[in-house]
């Protein structure tokens, strides 16, 4: 996984609550067996009309936001399904950070596995950052994960919270599975104990 340290970018304002995973990437695009290539369908129904033409009003179709690496939205971003295709699509499009008042749990967890940083900030702060984002192409935001701050175009810093472990994983771009596999002995010990204590639990063997 690519590490996330400091990101300076244009931000795209998407003042919409409950942006669900079907909006981020509709189910018909989940038939892939790869992680890449989903950016073309990010926000498909918001971005394109039924003939496939771009909807000019949608923020990511506007020239100044096409290269945004930060997205700012309203409450409950990423609600709905567990599809990791949602952060894959964001990442493939180029978005590496989403700022919103809060996130759905599974989407939130999925972001961290892919080097996408979800930042939860109060609604009023999100609205202020959206105002910044509308100032035009020179108005960049800086997200500094090391210092846990978002730096506004006027230099003001907004602190954000993040749990220590996901922060470390992102900063160092660690492979979580490799880390857990180093705990093999503890997992072995648990399994041995569980075999005793939960001896009723059958294995799945197909007859």
């Amino acid at each position: 996984m690519r590490a996330f340290t400091v990101l300076t970018s244009i931000a795209a304002p998407l003042p919409m609550a409950n942006v669900d995973t079907d909006k981020i990437i509709p189910a018909r695009f989940l038939k892939t067996i790869r992680r890449t290539g989903l950016g073309a369908h990010l926000f498909d129904t918001l971005r394109f009309d039924q003939s496939g033409a771009e909807r000019p009003g949608f923020v990511l179709n506007q020239p100044q936001y096409r290269n945004a690496e930060i997205l700012i939205a309203h409450e409950n971003f990423g609600c709905g399904s567990s599809r990791e295709h949602a952060p894959w699509a964001l990442l493939d499009f180029g978005i590496r950070c989403v700022i919103a008042p809060d996130f759905a749990d599974i989407f939130h967890a999925n972001c961290f596995k892919n080097g996408v940083l979800p930042i939860a900030l109060p609604r009023a702060v999100c609205d202020r950052l959206m105002e910044d984002a509308r100032l035009g192409a020179n108005a960049r935001l800086t997200v500094d994960l090391q210092r846990q701050v978002v730096v506004r175009p006027n230099g003001e810093e907004v602190a954000f919270e993040i749990a220590p472990l996901p922060r470390k994983m992102l900063l160092e771009g660690l492979d979580e599975i490799g880390q857990t596999m180093q705990r093999g002995p503890a997992i072995d010990a648990y399994e041995a104990r569980a075999r005793q204590e939960h001896s009723w639990m059958p294995a799945i063997a197909l007859g």
Partner: protein, 466 residues
């Protein structure tokens, strides 16, 4: 210290507690399907890793598969590739698999409980948010993303921080015609789609205790629609009777030992919840959704709400957008809304009890002219059981399509889709824009209500038909 049901199942699965409170959590059952697993198996292959516990893993195809005759295989190339990829992966990694033509095939969340693979007291995960379903057995069951699928395949564990405890207590008795689906829609309408975020919901109270296992599975299924990570119901006699004799459940003496353990799981007297919501079952009516979020629900005898009455500007804009998409007018009676399609199916409502409920409404009646009505059993086992009872005849004679098991029109990934502008009375769980096909309009409701809509051609209060 007194503990909740969730605390107990959680504590029993902690392998290691890390410094910041994150736990290495052991996973007892991993359910795998074709859509969210290809990239996970590919990751294992690239890193030269194996599946740690194939004997705790089960794979099935459901999302992509057509629900017409499948003996000739899958026509759509991308769907076929995803299914074939799963078949290759389960063979390569030694994972048990119910093939498409096996009677045990079906929607993963129907199959797990039905086969006794999902059991009380277990931790159960699947790369699918409706894994919350299995919590009805008193398991801790939650959906995960593909990276976590890979993590579980490789290590049989997940890194998780404990969720908060939320209690939803539904007291009293349901009125006739009101079902588990109406309970859960009413709960989501009350607490909202983010009402359970960060929490595991435990459902309790006499109305929940009175539900059969099918109803409990329906309630827990939609926990994710309230934003909750999982939903749970303490195992009791209803649970034990349901589990007893299932193909993969413990048998004989092992079953008795298991029941002894399962009885210890109920929440202790005096255990604290971070949040409690109490509802009166008697006040719940048959519910339908009118918007594109599962919290946008109302009793069937109500009307489409008016955005002008909403004070919050963002919420008002949201409602305007929803009504526009749904092509509804404020103040319109919900029972005046004509429908084009009826879908009875999905992991929420495709068990035998759901099909019985639908059949009892349509018996002796006929699907309204111009309406396409379909029934998609949740598994081959459900389908065969229904046929043995003659439910298929009742439904077919009434003009329903009787299809092969799968996710079908719950999501637009297989040939069963709404056309743009079509309006569907659906027993599924999500009414998001385009969920059942681009431009399709979804009204969520119970199987009995869906059957009522099928015979009248409009959203209908089923209590007027029985």
């Amino acid at each position: 210290m007194p503990r909740t049901l969730f605390d107990k199942v959680w504590d029993a699965h902690v392998v290691e507690r890390l410094d910041d409170g994150t736990c290495v959590l052991y996973i007892d059952r991993h359910l795998v399907h074709e859509v969210t697993s290809p990239q996970a198996f590919e990751g294992l292959r690239m890193a030269g890793r194996r599946v740690r516990r194939p004997d705790a893993t089960i794979a099935v195809t459901d999302h992509n598969v057509p629900t017409s005759d499948r003996r000739a295989g899958i026509a759509e190339p991308e769907s076929r590739l995803q299914v074939e990829t799963l078949e290759r992966n389960v063979a390569e990694f030694g994972v048990p698999y119910f093939p498409l033509l096996d009677a045990r095939q079906g929607i993963v969340h129907i199959v797990g409980p039905e086969q006794g693979i999902s059991l009380p007291g277990m931790t159960i995960v699947c790369g699918d948010s409706h894994t919350s379903t299995h919590g009805a057995l008193g398991a801790l069951a939650f959906g995960i993303g593909t990276s976590e699928v890979e993590h579980v395949l490789a290590t049989q564990t997940l890194l998780q921080r404990p969720a908060k405890n939320m209690l939803v207590r539904v007291d009293g008795a349901l009125a006739p015609g009101v079902t588990a689906k109406d309970i859960v829609l009413a709960i989501i309408g009350r607490i909202g789609t983010a009402g359970g975020t960060g929490h595991v919901i435990e459902y309790a109270g006499s109305a929940i205790r009175e539900l059969d296992m099918a109803g409990r599975l329906t309630v827990c299924n939609m926990s994710i629609e309230a934003g909750a990570r999982a939903g749970m119901i303490a195992p009791d006699e209803v649970t034990f009777d349901y589990v007893r004799g299932r193909p993969y459940a413990p048998a004989g003496e092992a079953f008795e030992r298991a029941v002894g353990y399962w009885r210890t799981l109920a929440t202790d007297e005096g255990a604290a919840y971070d949040r409690t919501v109490v509802m009166d079952a008697a006040e719940i009516s048959p519910m339908v959704s009118w918007g594109t979020s599962p919290e946008a629900v109302a009793p069937i005898d109500g009307v489409v709400p008016d955005p002008a009455t909403v004070a919050d500007e963002a919420k008002r804009a949201d409602m305007v957008r929803m009504l526009e998409y749904m092509a509804l007018t404020p103040g319109q009676a919900l029972s005046d809304i004509p429908i084009d399609v009826v879908f009875i199916g999905s992991c929420t409502n495709a068990r035998i009890e759901d099909l019985r409920a639908a059949a009892s409404v349509v018996r002796g009646r006929h699907v309204a002219p111009g309406v396409r009505a379909m029934v998609v059993p949740g598994s081959g086992v459900v389908k065969h059981a229904a046929e043995a009872e003659g439910l298929d005849r009742v439904l077919i004679d009434a003009g329903f399509e009787w299809r092969e098991p799968g996710c079908s029109m719950c999501l637009g990934m297989n040939p069963d889709k709404l056309a743009a502008g079509q309006r569907c009375a659906s027993t599924s769980n999500r009414n998001f824009e385009g969920r059942q096909g681009p431009g399709g309009r979804t009204h969520l409701l119970s199987p009995a209500m869906a059957a009522a809509a099928a015979v009248t051609g409009r959203l209908t209060d089923v209590r007027r038909l029985v």
